[in-house]
């Protein structure tokens, strides 16, 4: 197990180094997130819908769409020069490869979410200070699950001719449960509701994480081995 973690960290560090050098996915995802927030902000009729009512949905739709941009790159970099073959012929378990890619993707999506939050407060005039730990917590809980699924689908999609189109088609249906849960919890957090009202949704998010991280780790081998 320590070897798996050691190798996974090496793979994650490599992905982060590649991204920091090119900055392609991170910058694209951040610009995309900002654009989605702008569109939400200006498309809303303030007389019909208050910013507070729309804010949780807008936040999570922005996170979801921006994540898609970040996740698309996960295996695109492995396609260049057949680098994935280099990983697969090495004495590295498929689990270590999956966990490494998952950690790197969590770092990217987490960064996108962290940078998006201040923009969100700016556009929607919502104060997050009092509920920031809660929002960060639910963001972490929801993100782990859909990023795990996104990592698997990114590995599948990259072998197709239309990888960039395939990923949203495959991933969006699987994003629905964590997004609903996250929106529900965020709505209650912003409304100052007690924790007891959120527990059910938090359990759903935690269950989704456990089930899909385990499942994705187990099926990764079948996805990458031809």
């Amino acid at each position: 197990m320590p070897e798996v973690i050691h190798l996974a960290l090496a793979i994650a560090a490599k992905d982060i180094r590649v991204e920091l050098r090119s900055r392609t996915a991170l910058v694209s995802a951040l610009v995309f997130a900002a654009l989605v927030l702008v569109i939400f902000n200006f498309a809303r009729d303030p007389t019909a819908l208050s910013a507070t009512d729309l804010a949780p949905s807008a936040l999570w739709v922005t996170f979801a769409l921006a994540s898609m941009v970040a996740l698309n790159r996960a295996f695109t970099i492995e396609r260049e020069n057949g680098a994935l073959d280099g990983l697969l012929v090495a004495p590295v378990s498929r689990e270590a490869i999956f966990v490494g890619k998952l950690l790197a993707n969590l770092a990217f999506v987490g960064t996108v979410e962290l940078v998006t939050l201040p923009l969100f407060t700016l556009f929607f005039n919502v104060s997050l200070w009092t509920v920031l730990p809660g929002v960060l917590g639910v963001a972490a809980l929801a993100t782990v699950g859909f990023v795990a699924v996104g990592t698997i689908f990114s590995a599948m999609a990259v072998r197709t001719r239309f990888a960039e189109l395939m990923l949203p088609v495959l991933l969006l249906p699987f994003m629905v449960p964590p997004l609903i849960g996250a929106v529900q919890v965020t709505t209650r957090l912003l409304a100052g509701r007690p924790l007891s009202e959120m527990l059910g949704w938090l359990r759903l998010l935690a269950l989704y994480d456990v089930v899909f991280v385990t499942l994705c780790t187990l099926v990764f081998s079948a996805v990458v081995d031809e």
């Binding site: 050098r21 680098a83 990983l87 090495a90 498929r94």
Partner: protein, 239 residues
């Protein structure tokens, strides 16, 4: 060629592979012992690259099995993979990492001690000591091939699978690779070389196998001269 005792480094039995309804390989057997260099040649579409990818464990056989260093090649045969070096058509290098970073990362995958030092030594051995800071996309085809070869041999594998290793190499680099392979063969390395250019590997090979339509048309010790073998090769491939 030197002879080495010991178990087969590579054994394949009844290897078949189909893509959809098209069968590419028809029940191939193959064995390679330490110190042997097997050159696999054949016309386009004979299944050479598919065979090499099967031997490397990159694709699964439809039937049959591959054993590397005595272990059946499955998804997590770490010790077998530690002894395997693979050179494919592509360089397996990341375009946004420098050559040194690429090889250091590869050294980490193979759990080598002091990966940075190992990577630097491999680059030096490949004549790329002054190119460690370069990105692969900025290199010429020949330099990229040298870097890919350095990556394949980084962990001193016991078995090398090489797909067209001399592609893009100039005369000096090709001679350096030939000398290096001969030295390693004398130490007990086993090499499978897939090539279209038999002249490049004729002196290196201890065996020559001809693959035609996914079947062995010949698998025999290399004897005589290339000039004497070529008419027979033309006959085997039906040209």
């Amino acid at each position: 060629m030197p002879s080495h005792d010991g178990a087969a480094l590579l054994e394949a039995r009844g290897l078949q592979r189909s893509f959809g309804r098209v069968r590419i390989l028809h029940g191939l057997d193959l064995s390679l012992r330490p110190g042997e260099a097997l050159a696999i040649i054949g016309p386009n579409g004979a299944g050479k690259t598919t065979l090499l990818r099967l031997l490397a464990g990159l694709i699964r056989p439809s039937a049959g099995e591959v054993r590397i260093l005595g272990q059946r090649l499955g998804r997590d045969v770490g010790s077998a993979r530690h002894g395997l070096g693979v050179l494919l058509h592509q360089s397996l290098l990341y375009d946004d990492l420098t050559l040194l970073e690429n090889l250091t990362f590869a050294a980490r995958l193979y759990a080598l001690d002091r990966p940075g030092a190992v990577a630097a030594a491999a680059l030096e051995a490949a004549g790329l000591a002054d190119r460690g800071g370069d990105l692969p996309r900025r290199l010429s085809r020949g330099l990229l091939q040298r870097a890919a070869i350095a990556r394949a041999m980084l962990h001193s594998p016991r078995l090398l699978l090489l797909d067209e290793p001399f592609t893009g190499l100039d005369a000096t680099a090709a001679a350096r690779l030939r000398t290096d392979l001969q030295r390693r063969l004398a130490q007990g390395l086993g090499v499978v070389i897939v090539t279209h250019h038999l002249a490049e590997v004729w002196d290196l090979a201890s065996r020559v196998a001809v693959l035609v339509g996914g079947r062995w048309a010949a698998d025999e010790p290399r004897t005589g001269t290339l000039e004497a073998f070529l008419p027979r090769y033309q006959e085997l491939i039906g040209a």
